[in-house]
Symmetry: C2
């Protein structure tokens, strides 16, 4: 059952919030020792909140829906550890803005999901891939991606600074939206890079993603009719980083193109101009340079107790000069404008969401080379499950629209998803 | 005594942190009923912290220096009310990043200063201009500007999204730095507009500003020698918004130019290309559009208890379209590049810090028309006191450098300040 289906049943009185919350908690109970997606759960509290929601009129689009929160996002009634040894006892006094909006929209905040330390570097999440514990579920939104992928919860918040949100969606066979930069407040989520940090969410369908977009009042969310697939002009894009693609990633992109073409969509190739070649490096330059300021307070406060990765950022170990940083900012600005000018010739860009399947690793969370450029472009990105790789793990693709066109992207994805994502149920062997 | 002078005396053992803190508290005691700069003070705690600092080795550049914090910046040991009726009981569990850095550098966090509600709109600060209680001290950093101007404390944090930091510096006859956007973490300060919000600080000299810049490890801060004034190429700039200048603002700019020229600097006029004409409107568009997301959580949480100004932002009362927002973003990006290209012909830009003197008002905090463009350009801006207006109130000017050139701006300002700011003591009549 998707979140949107559950929401409809709750609205119709066919399902209680409490029953839905309990079913999530039961699934977590059965699976958490293997998947390790959660850093904190307060089951009695979640049930009590769900019960209260059952008694009252619908609060908003997320009424009664359980939601997982990446543990670098503040919650007023749960610890926020950032998966950092130095934040184990931290209990924020207020919810992060995104959590407050979700609560005001009726969501049941189920618990906190494991994450790469501060969603940036340092300590890895303990989370394992739900289908193969030798593999990473991706990161930094490891727990949120795995929990939704493993059907422990329908909705969860992740974040993306490089590729932390869309990549885990691909690896876990789920849907994910990284909205336009700055269209959702990231107050109360750990800051890494001002120009990049974005709150995103996972769901099990495009409708699920739209529900949350409505809660955040993204411009026209849920108000645009899904277009006829035959009218869609899809541009598939290898990106300048194609040398990093793996066979499974290439197969997913090819399958998505073939399925869309067969369904009647116009499918053409988009070759980005050379201007975009430097976008991966530019994203890294900005992330590392802005990270200097973001981790200075904890570097001074915790000294040697803080992981060396963060001291490297604060100490500018890469030796990034002001000139290099400004060149990266200016390239990004030029590329944003250039990218959107290309849309005269098509409606949506289809491109890899990850290099391929989730790697076999408990350290690497995979490469963000197919995500970083889009993050820096500030454009909305939506992950759609597509194929299964040679190891039997999911591989997704992503669709991309211009900045601020989140609602249109959701509407187009609603038309494309049934065509691209046709290998359900993907998780039959663990059900 | 400036902060830098006090720091030197503390280092030499000629002054204790405790004595300095007590002298600030005494001045506040004498003046607070009139100026109303502070929303919260914990005198015994400040004295206890100062006493502890007297016992230990220097912690950093701010060792023993009292510092005021604008009350929309989180403090772990004091309330953070945002001057909002709905946040009166808020006690954050952690310091904002800038407060944590200041504490780790040895600062004594003296208390919280009054502010426009959420530093954005709504309720006005109760603070009065130290020299004339019928006038505004400027805003939104009202309390910080007035407290430093009234010699109640040497250093204070402000913030700027439109003109909230530099304008109060001008009105209160003090020095202020708004550093390059994203060079100082604003985690834990209330978010208004992601693309604009910047933490700044006030001091009583350029050296004071440099001390804080060193604490934040701004690139090369304090490492660049102050240039010979005769070698400086100064470009004075009316900006495209000159029709808003008042006689006192014009007189300040003219006086600064004349004094610099007399001291041997090269002083030429910079006329910005027409591209810049739309920058004021672009700043407002971005501020209001990003404010939609920033206040959604409190709008949902507090409903009618939240001031209507914030609901206007959340509800997009201005009807800003995605196209208009993107045009504003793209104009800003183009202007950033164009502005910095102009620097081949000069070293620093000299431009109004405010329209003129502080207006006679308890509601308006003055016009940010001479600040907004620079905020949107992301460039460092430094306010220098200059003249006295017809009502006997101070009027400053500001100097502006390219992004990331904060340290060079500080070094140049150190050469220019003794020339521009020669009407000391400005506050003789209240001393």
């Amino acid at each position: 059952m998707t979140a949107a289906e559950a929401a409809a049943k709750i609205r119709d009185g066919a399902l209680t919030c409490e029953a839905l919350t309990r079913s999530c908690l039961e699934r977590i109970e059965a699976r958490d020792a293997t998947v390790k997606a959660w850093l904190y759960l307060d089951k009695p509290r979640a049930i009590a909140i769900a019960r209260e929601l059952d008694k009252r009129a619908p609060m908003g689009p997320l009424h009664g829906l359980p939601l997982g929160v990446k543990d670098m996002i503040d919650t007023c009634d749960m610890p926020t550890t950032h998966n950092s040894p130095v934040f184990q006892d931290y209990r924020p006094a207020r919810d992060a803005a995104c959590v407050a909006v979700a609560r005001s929209s009726g969501a049941v905040i189920l618990g906190k999901t494991d994450t790469l330390e501060f969603a940036a570097a340092g300590r890895r999440a303990a989370t394992r891939h739900p289908q193969n514990a030798a593999h990473t579920p991706g990161g930094s939104s490891s727990g949120s991606g795995a929990a939704v992928g493993d059907r422990q919860v329908q909705l969860a918040f992740g974040t993306q600074t490089g590729g932390s949100h869309i990549r885990p969606a691909s690896f876990n066979g789920i849907y994910g939206l990284k909205p336009t930069w700055s269209s959702v407040s990231r107050e109360g989520a750990k800051q890494y890079a001002n120009s990049l940090d974005t709150i995103g969410w996972y769901g099990r369908s495009v409708d699920d993603l739209t529900l949350v977009a409505k809660a955040f009042r993204l411009h026209e969310a849920g108000e645009i009719a899904s277009p006829d697939i035959a009218s869609l002009r899809v541009a598939w894009c290898r990106t300048p980083f194609w040398s990093k693609i793996e066979p499974a990633g290439e197969a997913a992109l090819e399958a998505a193109c073939a399925r869309l073409a067969q369904a009647g969509a116009s499918v053409t190739e988009l070759v980005l101009p050379p201007l975009f070649d430097g976008m991966f490096e530019a994203q890294n330059t900005i992330m590392m340079a802005e990270g200097r300021a973001s981790f200075l307070d904890v570097a001074l406060e915790f000294g040697d107790r803080l992981h060396g990765d963060f001291h490297e950022r604060v100490d500018n170990a890469l030796g990034i000069t002001p000139e290099r940083l400004l060149a990266a900012y200016d390239l990004a600005a030029t590329a944003r404008k250039a990218f959107e000018a290309l849309y005269a010739d098509f409606d949506v860009v289809l491109t890899p969401a990850s290099c391929g399947e989730a790697p076999e690793s408990h350290y690497s969370t995979g490469d963000h080379v197919f995500n970083a450029m889009w993050t820096l472009l500030h454009v909305p990105c939506l992950a759609i499950p597509c194929t299964t790789g040679p190891k039997g793990l999911p591989v997704g693709v992503q669709v991309v629209a211009p900045r601020q066109a989140d609602a249109r992207l959701l509407a187009m994805a609603q038309a494309m998803a049934p065509v691209i994502d046709h290998e359900t149920p993907r998780y039959a062997h663990i059900a």
